[in-house]
């Protein structure tokens, strides 16, 4: 099993918490609470025939919480709400913040959430966001945590990208087959790396 830490960032109210709960527990909560600080969930899935344990961090959307967010994560889902242009306008700021604090090689996916409302109240055109993502080297997808559209695909895509990059960088496949826990000594080199990632993720409140 290899291990990846991914962080969910974006404006308040775009649906980060529900994307996470849809992916890790297949749940959608109509009356979810405001996220205060950070929360996380894990899910283990099979990618390219290998078990990957994903630890996904959910963060509060308010600007002043940004210091808590993303140092050390290997991937980030930058979420906006396709029915609120305001939430799309701020992605540049989020990106800057992210590159300031995270590893330069971090993989970022731009996620336009609430696609179930596309026909009624869409404010951010698909093409516009897609073009922005392409020209900034970001992955891009539109999702709906409500009706599950593309949620699985979004997480799988970024996790697969991360996984492949890790394998390529290390030039080897992890030999160990046990779940890596932060309090256990690591054997494989790549796992040493991932444990490092985990330690530094979201710990600097």
């Amino acid at each position: 099993t290899s291990f990846s830490a991914v962080v969910l960032i974006g404006e308040s109210g775009v649906g980060k918490t529900n994307l996470l709960s849809r992916f890790t527990r297949n749940e959608f909560n109509h009356d979810s609470r405001t996220t205060i600080g950070v929360e996380f969930s894990t899910r283990t899935l099979t990618l390219d025939g290998q078990l990957v344990k994903a630890q996904i961090w959910d963060t509060a959307g308010l600007e002043r919480y940004r210091a808590i967010t993303s140092a050390g994560a290997v991937g980030a889902l930058l979420v906006y709400d396709i029915t609120k242009h305001q939430s799309y306008d701020s992605i540049e700021r989020w990106l800057k913040e992210l590159y300031d604090h995270a590893d330069a090689s971090i993989i970022v996916m731009l996620v336009g959430n609430k696609s179930d409302l596309a026909n009624e109240t869409r404010e951010v055109p698909f093409e516009e966001a897609k073009m922005y993502a392409d020209s900034n080297g970001l992955l891009f997808i539109e999702t709906s945590a409500l009706d599950s559209t593309n949620v699985e695909l979004a997480f799988e895509t970024i996790l697969r990208d991360i996984h492949r990059r890790v394998l390529k960088n290390k030039g080897e496949i992890p030999k160990d087959n046990t779940v890596v826990l932060s309090n256990q000594p690591n054997t494989g080199q790549s796992e040493g790396q991932t444990a490092e990632d985990k330690k530094s993720c979201c710990r600097n409140v």
Partner: protein, 486 residues
Amino acid sequence: MEEDPLASLLEDESTTESTDGKRNSEDLQRLWRKAIHQQILLIRMEKENLKLEASRDELQSRKIKLDYDEVGLCQKEVLNLWDKMLNCRTKIRFDMEEIYATLKEGVSKSKRGEIWQFLSVQYRLRHRLPSKQQPPDTTYADLLKQLTAQQHAILVDLGRTFPTHSYFSTQLGAGQLSLYNLLKAYSLLDQEVGYCQGISFVAGVLLLHMSEQQAFEMLKFLMYDLGFRKQYRPDMISLQIQMYQLSRLLHDYHRDLYNHLEENEISPSLYAAPWFLTLFASQFPLGFVARVFDIIFVQGTEVIFKVAICLLGNNKEQIMACDNFESIVDFLKINIPDMTKDTMEKVITQVFEMDISKQLHAYEVEYHVINDEMLEASNSCDDAESFHKLEKANSQLKRQNMDLLEKLQVAHTKIQNLETNVETILSRESKMRNLIRSLEQEKSAYQRAVEQMRKYVPAHVLTDCELLLKDLNCSPNSKTKTGSKQ
């Protein structure tokens, strides 16, 4: 609608009368009068009905607001004690020990809002904020007229604050509207903090126990007088200090647990941030939260630390049994708030008995020292950066210095006031002494005069006179008068 009964009434009467063939103006007049009277009656009844409905609505909304399970029973004697204190119209200083003892015994939720306001008055009688730290004087009504830049952030959180509580769950219902007003007004009052996620839960708890206007006053009290606003400032440094303090306290009280959490790389910021930023309101049962608020209104921010330490300590064995990062964090976030009523009561009792103020202060100082040392260490590497950091540290120290100076000033004026008080009391005392002395002299002079007069009075008259004196039994003045009459 309103005319219908009138019209039908008239019609009926007129048809019956037309068949009789007797229709005079007197009858008509009488009929009109009757109809008008009935109409007036109807309007009055409608008004009364509205009033009744309004009061029923208020009762209903009170019932909805206070829909939570209480922790700890408030006995009748305790209720009476509270009533006694609450019924005092003037702002009298009550004995703090007495208040504290009563608080320990319990608070009933129907009185809770009033009691919090009473406690805030008592607190302010003892602690006055330096004028520079006081909130602006703008009234709630004036703030409501303005527009806030944080509107979006506040609106987004309305449906996500106590989403399962019936008072707040209706979209743009009474609860959400009040919450919006309150948060908007506060964001305008406190421009530095504005709106920060977490505040909505604190505001929500207040709104469940009192009117919007009162809740605004109490939010001001919590934020300014008790100092909770510091943790919501944009840099959130105060929150970081609190996290450090909590981790040190854990080290003091539960070393084994502290080590276990350290080994698993779990710092307080992973689980305790919402505890501090919502005063436990976002995760814990409302009855427990209300009880924690009870103590906060007397002791302020340190209550959060006490509750945190008790919660962690009471669950030590189960936390130690979790052997990895995920399971520990899950336990802390899910299992700890899921307490039985007995456990909640136990925690509250423990919190009442703790005293950690000295440690808290020491650890705050320690945090700054460590931070400075780290700054120094990093300074040696890079000159430009070190200069920048030194400057920052310098300005921070300056600010600290200013704060301290301000406190010193307040203390000085207080001492001066006390000294002038002492002086006036002393001078009054010496004046009184002089007065007493002169009165005594006067008295002995009078006594001498009486003695002398007595000599001139015949014996039988004297006995009569003495009887009279005994009857009167009055002041020396009148004694001499009766004496001189003879």
